[in-house]
């Protein structure tokens, strides 16, 4: 019978457990490119400017991008599953406004964070519901809600600013959460860390672990690679996507609270234009816009690269728009590197 057939077929092919390790593959890994870029950024900046490697300066620099970076973590997951949320900055505005009114009503700092996160959650749920119930492309929905959310902020706030916040709330955003502590060893010290950067670090670790080591993370990769097959595999695709929009809303609300505490004031144009900066962080982090590819480590590194490049250029008094030119060129250049290598290899092989 055919028992021997199958017996034989077990040994027909040798299939390795994993691909053989090759230096070239390792070097062309996205994260490695980013690490090299990060080291380069630090080295060049500290050579060019003597104020770059100063813990206080670096701490201040982190506070300027940490709120965006927190949102970028959620955006990375959304882009991973082939969605995008362009309304994040508008959600920041709506959340920040709610916090402003709650603060005026005398709510406690903890409650202000709850309010911000709650409003973000609602906005995210609205996006998620439109995207999953009506099966609309998320880029379209969130272009619409971007106008809608910020528009609502303008309707309610008009030309007013909200400027009254409890001092403990402001301290959270404006003081270092961890103070500089030196030890007897000169190079061993606890640097000053702003709350927003600390939260970003913790969240990055949590997001990284969830995405790369748990079943939920694997499911997100599957959805990003092939949403239909993922659904056929029993993955609740729409529920997870909905949840990711909610998560993006929550992160935006949290970022809104941190930003409001840092500014101590909010107007309807708060965080305007952040969405494209955040998408830039995620894409430079190696998350593929086509879905299914990406890592949190990459996003983390990209956040640092972008933040430090920006900071390094501004301490050399390069104006904002010119910095944007460099960042735009950097984005394209870095994304091109592996492709150019591939092409070169292809040409060489072709010859």
């Amino acid at each position: 019978m055919n028992a021997p057939v199958t017996q034989e077929s077990q040994d027909r092919y040798t299939v390795l457990d994993r691909p053989p390790w090759r230096l070239r593959d390792a070097l062309l890994r996205w994260e490695v490119i980013l690490v090299i870029l990060l080291v380069l950024t630090v080295v060049v900046n500290s050579l060019v400017s003597d104020v770059f490697l100063d813990v206080y300066n670096l701490a201040d620099a982190t506070s300027n991008f940490s709120e965006m970076a927190i949102i970028a973590l959620a955006m990375a997951l959304l882009i991973l599953v082939r969605d995008i949320d362009l309304s994040v900055a508008a959600i920041v505005a709506l959340a920040s406004m709610s916090i402003g009114y709650a603060a005026a009503a005398g709510w406690s700092p903890a409650m202000l964070f709850v309010v911000g996160i709650g409003v973000g959650l609602l906005c995210g749920a609205f996006n998620g519901a439109l995207v999953t119930w009506f099966r609309l492309p998320s880029i379209v929905v969130t272009i619409g809600t971007m106008s809608l959310f910020r528009g609502l902020t303008q309707v309610i706030l008009g030309d007013q600013a909200l400027t009254k916040y409890p001092q403990p709330f402001l301290d959270l955003g404006q003081n270092y959460f961890i103070q500089m502590t030196e030890t007897s060893v000169p190079w061993l010290f606890v640097p000053p860390v702003p709350l927003s950067f600390l939260i970003f670090l913790i969240l990055a670790v949590v997001f990284g672990i969830v995405l790369h080591t748990t079943a939920v993370g694997r499911k997100l990769f599957a959805i990003g690679s092939n949403p239909i097959a993922a659904r056929f595999s029993g993955i609740p695709v729409d529920r997870l996507r909905f949840f990711l929009f909610v998560l993006s809303g929550i992160m935006s609300g949290l970022a809104g609270a941190l930003l409001t505490a840092r500014l101590g004031s909010m107007r309807s144009n708060i965080a305007i234009g952040w969405e494209l900066d955040i998408v830039t962080m995620v894409i430079l982090g190696g998350v593929s816009i086509a879905g299914g590819v990406g890592s949190i480590l990459g996003v983390f590194l990209a956040v640092l690269v972008l933040g430090l490049v920006r900071f390094g250029m501004s301490i050399n008094n390069i104006p904002g728009q010119v910095v944007s030119v460099y960042i735009g060129a950097l984005l394209i250049a870095v994304i091109s590197i592996p492709r150019i290598f591939e092409k070169l290899r292809g040409w060489r092989a072709g010859r």
């Binding site: 019978m1 055919n2 057939v5 199958t6 034989e8 077929s9 077990q10 027909r12 092919y13 299939v15 390795l16 457990d17 994993r18 691909p19 672990i209 080591t213 748990t214 079943a215 694997r218 499911k219 990769f221 599957a222 690679s225 092939n226 239909i228 097959a229 993922a230 659904r231 056929f232 595999s233 029993g234 993955i235 609740p236 299914g292 590819v293």
Partner: protein, 500 residues
Amino acid sequence: MPDPVLTLTGVSKSFPGVRALHDVSLSLTPGRVTALIGENGAGKSTIVKILTGIYRPDAGEIRVKGEARHFASPRDAWAAGIAAIHQETVMFDELTVAENIFMGHMPVGPTGAVDWAGMRARSADLLNRIDAPIPPAFPLKRLSVAQKHLVEIARALSHDAQVVIMDEPTAALSANEIDDLFRIVAQLKAEGHAIVFISHKFDEIFRIADDFVCLRDGEKVGDGPIASVNEAQLVRMMVGRPVDQVFPKREVPIGDVVLSVKNLSNATEYADVSFDLRKGEILGLYGLVGAGRTEAMQGLFGITPMTRGTVTLEGRRLSIGSPSDAIRAGISYVPEDRQDQGAILSLGIRENITLANLGKYVRGLFLSRALEMTETRRLGRRLAVKAANWEQRLAELSGGNQQKVVIAKWLATRPKVIVLDEPTKGIDIGSKAAVHDFIGELAGDGLAVVLISSELPEVMGLADRLIVMKEGRMVEEFQRGRWSAEEIVGAATGARKEAA
């Protein structure tokens, strides 16, 4: 014998890490059908793609009517008189039938503007030639699969090619449509075309082919007139060892009713589908393509939830709203559409196989790669998946090997009931035997199986019982041993009822 219209000499082609073809030569003669056979991943489709200018060979030469040619793009191949129906669907859902036929070589008028009227007229002619009265202005997305297939054939004919290549054209067709296709092939042959025909179904090959070329692991291992070999010899050539050709039916004790389906219906696709399924039983589901078998079973699986009817599993009423409900209850479904619904091409083999019940591989909070690997190796070896390593992305596997991984994924869920929708579509003969053996073994272990297949020998060989569907309804039920191929096909086409 007339001169060959096309010869291929010493062709090789490698992909990163894979040698797909090595020093392959073959020649095609006008008025003859050449069957290209080989296991999954043997390199058949690669030859097709080289002949149609999609891949460039690393080495070797293509001669058309004795003249050396280089194909930089499909246009060059068309110009040389070569047209193909590819293994993948190559269609534009949002465009019209006529545009689908002429995309890439639309007729233009004297001003250079596309001649829509001429294009429609020529499309209508082509479609009439193959007895397919589909209006050329009709949007393709509203056609059935079989109709789309006819459009693909019309497209191949639209080039006025001397060489027509068909890469597994029958994989998605049922008996009647295959007959229609063969009629067209015979007609083309009579008109003097050279035809390349790729299939894993030996009955078809012996029915239609004049010559054969056999590939194994990218090398040619034999060729000649088909009359000079028998099936067993061909198989040995292909696999490199003898394979038992008949689908052996394992006799297993049939147990109690596991699944009971009553009046499964939805609004537009299927109505009143009822059956009882017992432990160890294999229930065949037969019908023409488009009969609604897939839809009914997807309804059971929660893809497009049913609107009426009841499903009882082991005495418990189920309400299934989504695939995850079905999987949790113990029902698995291997989809027919591998590319869209089955395989996750950019993930690796391991990640695909473990996807449908990830919970099983979780230790504490995290996935355990070791557990995943054990299961992957076990199932992968069992189904003879050919790959470089278990982390290889599915996109890099041949179609048949992808299908094996998809089946492995569903077996990994250890279901009580498994629905296999065209499970051996596009699978080579050796692996097919392995799959069949596996299905039998599953039944032996007490699993209940629903087998949807458009391949009559397969269902007749494996099923204990057979339900025939037509236009969304069950029309007849047969018991093993009390059926004949004529009766079954008659029920599926409706001829039987009219006769009665």
